[in-house]
């Protein structure tokens, strides 16, 4: 048993971080080889929260399997659902009404904001500041309320269906969203004051966990993790889906590739998300919120792939259909898995405290890594 080996042959200390540990944010198990406080090797050990979602999807119809995907990356569940709905629509060539597309994108960006807020609080908590966590949750609660009114759920939204969204938006949706944006815009400078500008926080984050542009590409990093190294990989820009080609926003890029770079990218992304929602919220067109589809959906024989940008990076949905009621095979390309694979590369030679800071800026959601 690994747990019984305290010191290995070369005299290094081995500690097991997780599966229950405050900094892994879930049931991730890291076997860390230490020399004093310096990390020599990190061996991530997965499988503690494997629910075989991909296999489950094979026995669910094309309407049903979308709901399971909310449980993968639970912080961007709406975006996961969106990706699956897009794949089914691609296969059936369903034209999604304009109104549904607008609602989907607004919801996507609200989800991204909520996810980044939680990340911000958790990242600050990982480096030892406990107060930001509560401030982040105060703002996130407002988004949850908006979601609750329109989707009926706060975390696993299940709002997307093939052909549009499940229900029309709540009458209060636009007013509340605008009120939230106004409130949150005032709070963002406060976030910077409390955490970004703090000298201790900057010392903890700068020049640690560096990953170069080439390494980021070869490890398959995506999302803010890769963009902090200067890899232009925002799917919303490079392969626009839904109505992302109609809105104005910037792809946030940093070149440092360190933890602070990843932090800054996410902070800027929050501002970009606000910008996107502001453009759309007043212009939601009238019309249907759902296209007319057949009662029973059957994808034609073939392979279908869609990718979207979740809060953590690129999510790919790959469906192989034999023409039946259920998919023959489903594979998800989850952003967290590839980002985690770069952890050893980033954290080698750093202190154990840095490992926690690096994991915080990778923004790992374990159910997304272990489906």
């Amino acid at each position: 048993m690994l747990e019984e080996i305290a010191v290995n042959d070369t005299g290094d200390l081995i500690i097991n971080v997780g599966p229950q540990h405050p900094s892994t944010h879930g049931v991730l198990h890291l076997i860390i080889t230490l020399n004093g406080e310096t990390i020599k090797n990190i061996d991530p050990n997965l499988g503690y929260i494997h629910r075989s979602i991909e296999k489950m999807c094979e026995s669910l119809s094309y309407r049903q399997f979308i709901y399971v995907t909310s449980r993968m990356d639970y912080l961007s569940s709406h975006i996961n659902n969106h990706a699956c709905a897009l794949t089914v629509e691609k296969g059936l060539q369903i034209e999604v009404p304009e109104r549904a597309q607008y609602i989907r994108v607004i919801m996507d960006e609200l989800t991204r904001l909520a996810s980044h807020q939680l990340w911000w609080g958790a990242a600050a908590m990982d480096v030892g500041a406990l107060t930001p966590f509560f401030h982040a949750f105060r703002e996130r609660e407002m988004i949850n309320e908006i979601m609750e009114e329109t989707c009926g759920a706060r975390l696993t939204m299940n709002y997307n269906v093939p052909g549009g969204v499940m229900a029309d938006i709540h009458p209060d949706f636009q007013r509340k969203t605008k009120a939230f944006l106004a409130f949150f815009k005032d709070k963002l400078p406060e976030y910077d004051e409390l955490v970004t500008g703090n000298i201790i926080f900057q010392n903890r984050m700068k020049d640690i966990g560096i990953i170069s542009k080439e390494d980021a590409i070869s490890y398959g990093c995506s999302g803010p993790t890769a963009r902090a190294s200067g890899v232009s990989c925002d799917i919303r820009k490079t392969h626009p889906y839904s109505i992302y080609d109609k809105v104005q926003f910037d792809e946030v890029l940093e070149t440092t590739g360190d933890s602070f770079g990843r932090y800054l990218v996410r902070m800027q992304e929050m501002r970009q998300s606000i910008h996107i929602i502001e453009q759309l919220i007043d212009n939601i067109p009238e019309g249907d919120f759902q296209a007319k589809t057949k009662a029973v959906l059957k994808l034609p024989k073939g392979e279908f792939y869609t990718r979207v940008e979740t809060a953590r990076g690129e999510l790919g949905v790959y469906i192989v259909s034999e023409g039946g009621l259920t998919p023959y095979r489903i594979k998800f390309r989850s952003p967290g898995f590839s980002n985690l694979s770069a952890l050893n590369h980033m954290a080698k030679g750093q202190k154990i405290g840095d490992m926690v800071a690096i994991m915080a800026t990778l923004d790992l959601v374990i159910p997304d890594i272990d489906r």
Partner: protein, 358 residues
């Protein structure tokens, strides 16, 4: 006027008149011991409650508000829970050291209480090397922490204890050097003499630049010595789960917890005594009317007020700052604080010799 000094003197007189001297002394020992333990219990209750309320208001929440009026008995309930909890000794641990460690930490905290002046002429032991005694005894606590980390047979505990050892030994230097600045100005090591010397004004005002620097360094160093955030590396919960007390439960854990809060009280009391005049009221030059009004406020209130102000500052740190990394922590001490305090000591000596203070 009723004061602590008056009460203590009367009890002493009555005991000596009623019993033989050695019996009176024994009874006094017992009374002091019971009072010390009582003070510990009260401090534990008050400081833990204060920490919870301060953190709650900083974190936009209410804090405990269910047990008793405004949740004031929450700590009592928690203590009861810890009392009935099983104090587990893990298999493979060094049982003797494991069970001894919490008491070492606790006793070290208790001993430092001796020379602190709680009110005018109200002191357990006015030892003539007061501050030396304080800085010597307060470092015994680290032995208990190292003991706990080693005896637990847990790798997180060991890492936490080693961090704590490195940290406390380093920061002791800065704390000691900033205490020395006060000693230079006062010319005396005993706590009562240091307070007497602040009759015309607290050292933080009279000693201007070197005293201010010493005060700031002292506050940073004692925050580190008590293992409080941003220097709480010994128990950094996101890295080492709970550091050196990972394996402790029940009352043994409670002793560590209590010792932490009593240590905060003690270092803040020392800080208040050395730099803010202890129980000495705020006196400004020759403003006779103002000074006499200040004298009306009981000396014990002055002491408690100053101490709790410093405690609040240290709590404020904890709920605002992120944690430092171990190498940054040691860099801060050896590369910045120690050279600054040494230079500051020379500056203080120059100023004291030349008499350039108020």
């Amino acid at each position: 006027m009723i004061s602590f000094e008056y009460i203590a003197d009367n009890i002493d007189k009555w005991l000596n008149n009623t019993f033989s001297p050695w019996l009176a002394l024994t009874i006094e020992f017992v009374i002091v011991g019971v009072l010390c333990i009582g003070l510990f219990a009260v401090l534990g209750l008050v400081l833990i409650m204060m920490e919870r309320k301060v953190s709650a208001y900083m974190q936009v929440r209410l804090g405990p508000n269910r047990v008793g009026p405004k949740g004031m008995f929450q700590t009592v309930a928690d203590t009861l829970k810890l009392l009935v909890k099983e104090g587990l000794t893990p298999a493979g641990s060094d049982k003797f050291l494991f069970n001894l460690a919490p008491f070492v930490v606790m006793i070290a905290a208790m001993l430092v209480l001796a020379p602190i002046a709680f009110a005018k002429n109200f002191q357990i032991w006015d030892i003539n090397i007061g501050v030396l005694y304080v800085s010597a005894v307060s470092s015994i606590g680290v032995i208990g922490i190292l003991m706990a980390g080693w005896a637990s047979n847990n790798k997180y505990s060991l890492l936490g204890a080693m961090r704590s050892g490195a940290q406390i030994v380093s920061y002791e230097l800065s704390a000691g050097l900033s205490i020395l600045v006060v000693v230079i100005f006062t010319g005396d090591l005993s706590i009562s003499q240091i307070i007497e010397s602040q009759q015309t004004g607290w050292w933080i005002f009279r000693g201007h630049i070197p005293m201010l620097i010493a005060f700031i360094i002292f506050i940073i160093a004692v925050t580190a010595e008590t293992n409080r955030a941003p220097f709480d590396l010994a128990e950094a919960e996101s890295e080492l789960t709970a550091g050196f007390h990972t394996e402790y439960s029940g009352m043994k854990f409670a002793l560590f917890f209590l010792a932490e809060y009593v240590n905060i009280f003690i270092v803040c009391a020392i800080g208040a005594t050395l730099f803010l005049g202890g129980w000495m009221p705020l006196h400004i030059g020759n403003w006779e009317a103002f000074n006499s009004i200040m004298d009306w406020i009981p000396s014990s209130l002055w002491f408690v007020g100053k101490t709790f102000f410093l405690i609040f500052v240290i709590m404020w740190f904890r709920w605002t700052f992120p944690r430092l990394r171990i190498d940054q922590l040691l860099n801060l001490e050896w590369k910045y604080l120690l050279p600054i305090s040494m230079f500051n000591l020379l500056l203080a000596t120059l100023i004291a010799i030349q008499g350039w203070y108020f």
